[in-house]
């Protein structure tokens, strides 16, 4: 297929795609079990499901990364054979991944040209530029062609990814949670544009998502998977959020959310005063950051990924040194050392627990003992460890927090994401908590775990802990926080009680306005 064929001159080019009876088995795991999905030409179709439901396996089978064990794929109602990603590309099926696949040190134009399958050995740049400009003129949204990709914002990069698919004439687009790196404004803009193009039958979009808000606002049809099986499909506008979420989670019992108890304004517990820290290249990662958290309140720190949130959490956890400023707890200086963690009862739920909060090869029981291994009853004389009390404690907590594991002695890396996070919760929240530092606690977890974890965070707040919640999920912040702080460019640019603000205002501050 000629990648330079003029696009969108004849507008009705959107293909339809149907996958029938897709089955994919990995060893003992049936990742896809006889799943069928039909995406009409020119539709904006949402693929819903929890983590591990088989969404990725399905689209990877369509993209040719996996060979399905059974099933067939029809493109424009004709059976096609997709053995490799190259086949998918030649058929005009393209995918935008959760993380960018652009080359940061090249310009937008260079990224587009090198993505072509028939890219020549020697480029005639003048000719290429002219063609690209013609191409860009026909597009509903633009990216500056000579800009270096690393200088583009996340929203622009995502647009460029989509332009790349159009440039390669890939009219069937698979988007894998495309808005997770965007501000709400950017996300709405991009999905709106795609929706318009789909409505004009220029493209067909299949979007993996778990944000019902986006599905309701932009999609016209949906398919739901649960545990590798098809559980329903329909008209996204007609179906209610309740119906869709029921299809996603089935009969799983969702824990009741803990109610927010009202209490009077209490004293400041955690005080971050003028914090500064630098990143790996010596540039400021956080810059004169001030924030106070009171007892019994959750302060949610919102922001677009990469504005210093992870540096802030690392500073508080002792993983990154402060170059200036001071952290105070109850008016006393706090150092992120073990003695101070214990003295001030500071606990943490870092993001990606397998990476930040556990030692993957150590056992569940040992991982649960990280806070207590050097204190009685596990340690006697301060240095001699007794495995008995450690195992007993682990067994109790594994039961109380319903951590699913073959044995307390199994390495924690063998557990699923939700169970790893539950084991970390068991370790961090089973004691008396004064300060809780939480970062993206629900990233990549299933509904039941999300509900449980949020509920536990709320319980800690109700019990009087000062909670700092750093999250890239604005909905999570809107649900949990008493006050919202927006982080942009390494500092807090906006703070407001949750009742005095809304998604739009927060979004504008996230975008740096």
């Amino acid at each position: 297929m000629n990648a330079l064929s003029p696009i969108a001159e004849t507008s009705i080019r959107a293909p339809s795609l149907e996958a029938i009876g897709m089955t994919k088995i990995f060893g003992p795991l049936v990742a896809l079990d006889d799943v069928s999905i039909k995406v009409e030409a020119g539709s904006f179709h949402a693929l819903l499901g929890e983590n591990g439901a088989g969404k990725s396996t399905l689209v990877k089978s369509i993209m040719g990364f996996y060979r399905a064990d059974q099933g067939q794929i029809l493109l424009d109602e004709e059976e096609v054979s997709i053995r490799t990603p190259r086949d998918a590309r030649d058929l005009g099926i393209g995918m935008v991944y959760q993380h960018f696949t652009l080359v940061p040190c090249l310009t937008a134009a260079e990224n587009l040209v090198i993505s072509r399958a028939d890219a020549p050995t020697v480029f005639d740049w003048r000719k290429e530029k002219n063609r690209l400009e013609e191409f860009m003129d026909r597009m509903p949204f633009k990216v500056h062609l000579n800009a270096q990709v690393s200088s583009l914002s996340a929203g622009e990069k995502q647009k460029l990814e989509i332009l790349k698919l159009l440039y390669l004439d890939q009219r069937f687009m698979i988007l894998d949670e495309p808005t997770s790196v965007l501000t709400p404004g950017e996300a709405d803009e991009m999905l709106g544009l795609l929706g318009e193009m789909a409505a004009k039958k220029e493209i067909t979009v299949l979007m993996i998502s778990h944000k019902f808000r986006e599905v309701k606002a932009f999609c016209d049809s949906f398919t739901v998977l649960r545990r590798g099986k098809f559980t329903g499909s329909g008209d996204a506008q007609a179906a209610s959020v309740e119906e869709m979420s029921k299809m996603m989670i089935g009969d799983t019992q969702i824990r009741e959310r803990a109610e927010r108890t009202q209490h009077n304004r209490q004293e400041v517990v955690l005080d971050l005063a003028g914090l500064c820290a630098v990143d790996g290249e010596g540039l400021p990662a956080i810059d004169a950051l001030n924030l106070k958290v009171r007892a019994g309140e959750i302060v949610g720190v919102a922001g677009v990924s990469g504005n210093g949130q992870s540096a802030l959490v690392e500073c508080l956890a002792g993983q990154r040194p402060l170059s200036d400023g001071e952290v105070q707890i109850h008016g006393k200086p706090f150092e992120p050392k073990r003695a101070d963690f214990d003295k001030f009862k500071v606990f943490g739920l870092p993001e990606e627990p397998l990476k930040n909060a556990t030692v993957p090869r150590m056992s569940v029981s040992e991982n649960i003992a990280f806070r207590s291994f050097d204190k009685p009853p596990v340690a006697s004389l301060g240095w001699w460890m007794r495995p008995g009390p450690m195992r007993e404690r682990a067994k109790e907590l594994i039961a109380a927090y319903r951590v699913k594991t073959t044995s307390p002695e199994a390495p924690i890396e063998d557990l699923s994401g939700g169970n790893v996070q539950r084991a970390v919760l068991a370790r961090e929240l089973s004691g008396d908590v004064d300060v809780l530092i939480v970062a993206n606690p629900c990233f990549g977890l299933d509904f039941a775990s999300v509900a449980e974890i949020r509920s536990q965070i709320m319980e800690q707040r109700n019990r009087g802990a000062a909670v700092l919640l750093v999250s890239e999920d604005l909905d999570e912040i809107l649900e949990l926080a008493d006050r919202v702080a927006v982080m942009s460019g390494g500092t807090i640019t906006y703070v407001s009680p949750i009742e005095d603000t809304d998604r739009n205002t927060i979004g504008q501050h996230m975008a740096g306005h």
């Binding site: 003992p28 591990g52 019992q253 956890a317 073990r338 056992s363 003992a369 001699w384 319903r402 557990l415």
Partner: protein, 372 residues
């Protein structure tokens, strides 16, 4: 306490399967042994190319290493420094470092012991005082030497593998500098050496054997370090740091202190090996200290899965291979380096076998309930 509204699922039953711990242990024994067998097969092919009989070779290793009480003692004698060198790699490995500088710490430790012995022997300080002082000096010198590398790694981000290797050459050069100059015994004409400590100051053999006390020291140290790493808070914190330094930091552990301490302990082990080489074998410091024990220790530690206790039998095995080297040279007319070829093959096969962990179905516990 967190009280949940949802019911607790029934515990996963694994009827008839051994515990996770047993399975892990079986896996950790099976895979290295399997790697040894494969290495032997590959080496056999190499021998066949040379027109030699693999059967002869391996039976000579058996005879030379374990065939008689004499060969046993030869093997154990050589195992003594290997145990200590193996520990010098194993301890930093547990905290996540690939520290290959035991050779340097051994040489410098041995040299330090020989150097401090010169004034002590000259003034006729009794051996019972001199020998412990020599041992302490050797351990301190070795500890500082590897400790420097650990410090550079943690506080300055210097790659510990490269740094420890290069520091080994510096250590050897330092010894040569003194042995060939300031501290040279004028009587050592052909092979520059320090002044011999003399028979009275030599460490003798353990009663009823011809094996020197270094073997006992190595075994005791292996047991002590095993307990340190498995049963103490220090060892637990070190294993946490080795498994995930970020998580260890987030628990407020003093990562720098743990890293440097493990390196100092490792260096002390290597230094002690140097002390025994001087006080029990050579009686002085010279180029003979540079015998490659430190590097064989790396291989031993890998084969022992960096487990301090397992280092002991593995070191004895390599002691036997080394002890049989002479016999092979004489009987088969093959050069000394043949044994090095075998060691090299074992190392490559062993590193390849690392990829087998978690892949052999038999050693895996049953499925973990349902994956969410």
């Amino acid at each position: 306490m967190a009280v949940d509204t949802a019911p607790t699922p029934a515990p996963v039953k694994l009827s008839g399967r051994p515990s996770v711990r047993t399975l892990k242990l079986a896996e950790a024994i099976f895979i290295p042994v399997f790697a040894l067998v494969i290495s032997a097969l590959v080496f056999s092919v190499f021998l066949l190319f040379l027109g030699q009989s693999p059967i002869d070779f391996f039976s000579l290793i058996w005879i030379g290493g374990f065939g008689s009480s004499f060969s046993w003692q030869q093997s154990l004698q050589r195992a003594a420094p290997l145990i200590l060198a193996g520990l010098a790699f194993a301890i930093p490995a547990r905290i996540g470092l690939t520290m290959i500088g035991a050779e340097g710490a051994l040489v410098l430790g041995g040299f330090g012991a020989a150097a401090i012995a010169i004034p002590l022997v000259t003034y006729a300080v009794p051996p019972l005082l001199t020998l412990p002082l020599m041992a302490l000096t050797a351990m301190a010198v070795g500890g500082v030497w590897i400790g420097i590398t650990g410090w550079l790694k943690h506080y300055r981000g210097v790659n510990e593998t490269i740094a420890s290797l290069l520091l080994s050459y510096i250590a050897i050069a330092i010894m040569n500098f003194f042995v060939e100059g300031l501290l040279r015994d004028p009587a050592s004409a052909n092979k520059p050496s320090t002044l011999p400590i003399g028979e009275a100051y030599r460490i003798g053999a353990m009663p009823g054997t011809s094996v020197h006390w270094g073997l006992a020291a190595g075994i005791v140290l292996a047991i002590v370090l095993h307990i340190l790493m498995t049963r103490t808070t220090f060892g637990f914190a070190a294993r946490m740091t080795g498994g995930n330094a970020r998580a260890s930091q987030a628990q407020g552990l003093p990562v720098g202190y743990l890293v440097v301490t493990c390196c100092v302990v490792a260096g002390a082990c290597a230094g002690l090996a140097g002390f025994f080489e001087v006080a029990a074998i050579h009686g002085q410091a010279n180029a003979s200290l540079v015998a490659g024990y430190g590097f064989t220790g790396i291989l031993i530690s890998f084969l022992a899965r960096h487990n301090a206790l397992a280092v002991v039998p593995v070191a004895i095995l390599f002691g036997a291979i080394a002890a049989a080297g002479g016999l092979i040279q004489r009987r088969m007319g093959m050069p000394d380096a043949t044994v090095l070829v075998l060691q090299g093959i074992i190392f490559v096969v062993l590193l390849t076998s690392e990829s087998l962990y978690g892949r052999i179905k038999f050693f895996q516990p049953g499925p973990v309930g349902e994956r969410t």
